[in-house]
Symmetry: C2
Subunit: 195 residues, 2 copies
DNA sequence: CCTCGAAACGGACCGTGGTCCGTTTCTATT
DNA sequence: AATAGAAACGGACCACGGTCCGTTTCGAGG
């Protein structure tokens, strides 16, 4: 006996087969997504491709949405790393305003290129979405703080991010607004907000 | 023979039975939505309740999303009327800034109370969503114009509306921000934008 | 009133997301 | 190595959105 009571935040040790399967599923899902496109990837297909039962998919990733979020996370993490410790102006080292603008542009680009995947991963359940957007929210809020903006920074950060979200971009695109236009207009919005 | 060529924008005359059925479906859907809640209303249920076949539902309203949009539209229209010709400050007569603030608050309230229905009606398809948001977008843009704001009014209007959308509100709510906070912070945002 | 083509109807059918539960596999303990 | 029980597995099963197509109903000429 090694321990009497489980520590509260025990990292939930994962069984070997479980880990193996998770890896297989994620790999299969990624492959299928980038070959067939998000829309044509069914849970049955992924299960078959990964060589596991469908139940296993749903045990590890709650739902289709959750699986897509996991797939998305792979690239998202790399992007976050670039923001946190990459070269300026996206990474640290540049003045806050430049960083903020660079961040917005970068985020926009990410949201455009991964649009389909993001929409598939971002269901109508707001709780799940929160996690994904949390990082961006925190970062913008941080930069606004550095810029000595006054007011409800949490809301202002949210408001700046909202029109750059994948669905928002798509909506503006069908309204006939180009990405360049959005980029310029967003810079203008930032200028007004930081005062 | 009354006409040789159909006029280009002929309003597509509707057959009597079709009209009757549409009415029945809409009524049934509304009843079910407000008794059971949006989440528990299936297309089969609506069809049964309305006394029509499922195929009929999908002929008239494209999809579940479309049906919900139609249901939503009933109340949305009334709201639009209040904006266009109701008493100030929401309706005309008040100074533009007051109208803008009143509009934001009202829109927020609508988005909160009809949140479920809106989420059900607003699928991942951005094209459908555009129509619904179009009115609000146009109105805010109009008010910004009256306030002599310079810049890309279309984008600014969009940016002001985005954080008030149903899903955005829900997201902020789970982040622990109260509606009063949002309201105040939004007023502040407006002040910065109209400069 | 009859005719006839167009439009609408309706319900069997399908694909897909999600669940359930009997079976298998792992691993800590002795 | 044997044991036990917790965890994971997997595929049959279900519900719901959406389609298809043979049948019925409408209503404009005649």
């Amino acid at each position: 006996m090694t321990r009497l009571l489980p520590l509260a935040d025990e990292p939930a040790p994962e069984r070997a087969d479980a880990a193996r399967n998770r890896e297989a599923i994620l790999t299969a899902a990624l492959r299928l997504v980038e070959t067939r496109g998000v829309g044509c990837v069914t849970m049955d297909t992924v299960a078959a491709e990964a060589g596991v039962g469908k139940g296993t998919l749903f045990r590890r990733f709650e739902s289709r949405e959750g699986l897509m979020a996991a797939v998305l996370n792979e690239s998202e993490t790399a992007w976050q790393a670039r923001v946190i410790s990459g070269p300026p102006p996206l990474g640290p080292g540049a003045p806050p305003l430049e960083r903020l603008l660079a961040f917005g542009h970068s985020r926009m680009r990410v949201n455009v290129t991964h649009g389909d995947l993001i929409r598939a991963a971002t269901g109508h359940d707001p709780v799940r979405s929160r996690a994904a957007a949390g990082f961006a929210l925190m970062h913008v809020r941080h930069l606004l703080g550095q810029l000595e903006v006054t007011g409800d920074l949490r809301f202002l950060a949210f408001a700046l991010l909202a029109p750059l979200e994948a669905m928002a971009l798509e909506q503006q695109r069908v309204d006939g607004i180009s990405l360049e236009q959005i980029e310029r207009a967003w810079d203008d919005l930032v200028a007004r907000v930081v005062g």
